[in-house]
Subunit: 312 residues, 2 copies
């Protein structure tokens, strides 16, 4: 036990009175009006991809300025920048820096995962170059492949979020497979047993994160991604991972409801981070009005709903 | 059944008389001598990272020129480029283009995987921007998350390689978990049953790839990554995935031996692709001599050993 990212996050959630994470999933075909005309996006000296990347950056920064005040963090979806190649990667770095200047934490959503030597290269990219506070990691390759991410995150004062139960329907194909009796118990997780693959991943989060529990918050620097689309998983996830920060995608566009997420907040308000992207960036499509105003209103609505629910 | 990437790959293997994949995992601290002095790597007008990325590009192109003639494909490790940000991504695109001009196929090793809408963004990045022939994909998120990669690969005349059993020691933590009797059988895979998570992933490869089996080669456009470090897995992998191209990492530096890989080649020479990176790029460290000559000799040694073994 000691200080660590769990304590940092809890302090930031208190300070901003928000558990909302603003997802940044820019689709070049659905950016806010006007961004394609922004300075830099119209200059002809660079390729069309560079101009698109400038528009993506302008869109994301405008979204941060509008909805950011109701949020505690941004979560750029790396795929949406990576598909624009080098210009997209430059936009990503600029957007993360903009969020940082606005007092927001940054969670890189890249779901990276590889053998140890390569995991170290990804960790370098995430925690030294992009300098994000947290990163999502795919745990399929096991403990030795997760360890470099945790080591790098701790060295940078940040944290890691392992995929445990994702929000897509196909998640059941692998994550919900039932385990044989012999493999239900892990050696390090005490009296708990895992019935499924995802429950075993939850015990992995518990094991890897045991050394990183902050003494003020009781929250670890190793958290988990648990889809908000199936609330029945949340109580079980919380039981298996009492100290984990749970990142909860799937609210809004995917059908999850804030009111069903109470179990996530059992260890305190920072125990659950609610991520929303399309429902905020596209709020004007449902409510009318200007995109920035609608985004701010929707982010504030989510913030207030979660804050009321997630007592301390 | 029809034509598809399996047939393309088999023809290319025959043409080049090689089943060797040249891994490109550039470490800026261990590039070949002289590359830091190459044109562009010394010019001061750009940042140190840009100069490092130029050196990485020069190194990879020199390695391709040296060892490429003994290989059928290159496999850039995306993490090693991504850690250099936008300049690294530019180097990646240039290296892939260089390999293509040398008649080599390109396999993007990024182990991406995400919910369907995001998987489509990654697919766009891989098969439309980088225009690679194959990409490694992490299947933890299940069928609906894999489908966009397969669809994009097919549209581009390429293929996908799903992680099934990786070569790192920690792979056992999740991939080797034993399944309960009720979850051992899949509906679509016929009489086969899966005892472990990785065997279930193998059946997923079989199911997803069933429609993509080339009528000439009998090889599917959906293959699998199976570590060469544990040859006992190979026979079982081949039994569960009779039409899959198996990408075999772990030969050389990680201890796998070419002579133990015969099961991979059961459906024909293109049934197994042997990937080697450090053992080729760093061959001069063991044998002495100039890096290019040593790399070419090691790649040719591997090529001949596999070609003799992998009869058609």
């Amino acid at each position: 036990m000691g200080s660590g990212f769990g304590d940092t996050l809890a302090a930031r959630v208190d300070e901003r009175e928000s558990q909302i994470v603003l997802g940044l999933d820019p689709d070049p075909g659905a950016l806010w009006p006007g961004v394609h005309e922004a300075e830099g996006a119209t200059r002809g000296e660079r390729s069309p991809t560079w101009r698109t990347a400038v528009a993506v950056r302008v869109h994301c920064c405008a979204l941060i300025d509008a909805a950011g005040p109701a949020c505690v963090a941004v979560k750029p979806q790396l795929a949406c920048f990576e598909r624009l190649g080098a210009p997209g990667w430059e936009a990503l770095e600029a957007v993360i820096e903009h969020a940082r200047q606005r007092g927001l934490l940054a969670i890189a959503d890249g779901k990276r995962g590889d053998v140890p030597v390569t995991a170290r290269a990804y960790s370098e990219s995430l925690f030294e170059r992009l300098r994000v506070d947290m990163a999502t990691v795919n745990p399929l390759l096991g403990g030795d492949a997760i360890e470099p991410f945790v080591t790098s995150a701790r060295a940078a004062g940040g944290g890691v979020l392992l995929l445990v139960r994702t929000s897509n329907p196909g998640a059941a194909d692998v994550q919900d497979l039932e385990l044989a009796a012999t493999d239900r118990r892990s050696t390090a997780a005490g009296p708990f047993s895992a019935n499924t693959v995802w429950e075993r991943l939850a015990l992995l989060v518990r094991e890897v994160g045991a050394e990183g529990v902050g003494e003020v918050s009781g929250l670890s620097d190793v958290g988990a991604v648990v889809g908000a689309t199936e609330p029945r998983h949340l109580a079980r996830a919380r039981e298996l991972m009492p100290h984990a920060v749970l990142l909860l995608p799937g609210v809004g566009a995917q059908g999850g409801r804030v009111e069903e997420l109470a179990a996530a907040f059992a260890p305190g308000r920072a125990g659950g981070l609610i991520t929303a992207s399309r429902s905020i960036a596209g709020a004007h499509l449902a409510t009318g009005g200007d995109p920035a105003g609608a985004a701010r209103a929707e982010a504030e609505r989510l913030r207030a709903a979660a804050w009321t629910l997630g007592g301390g």
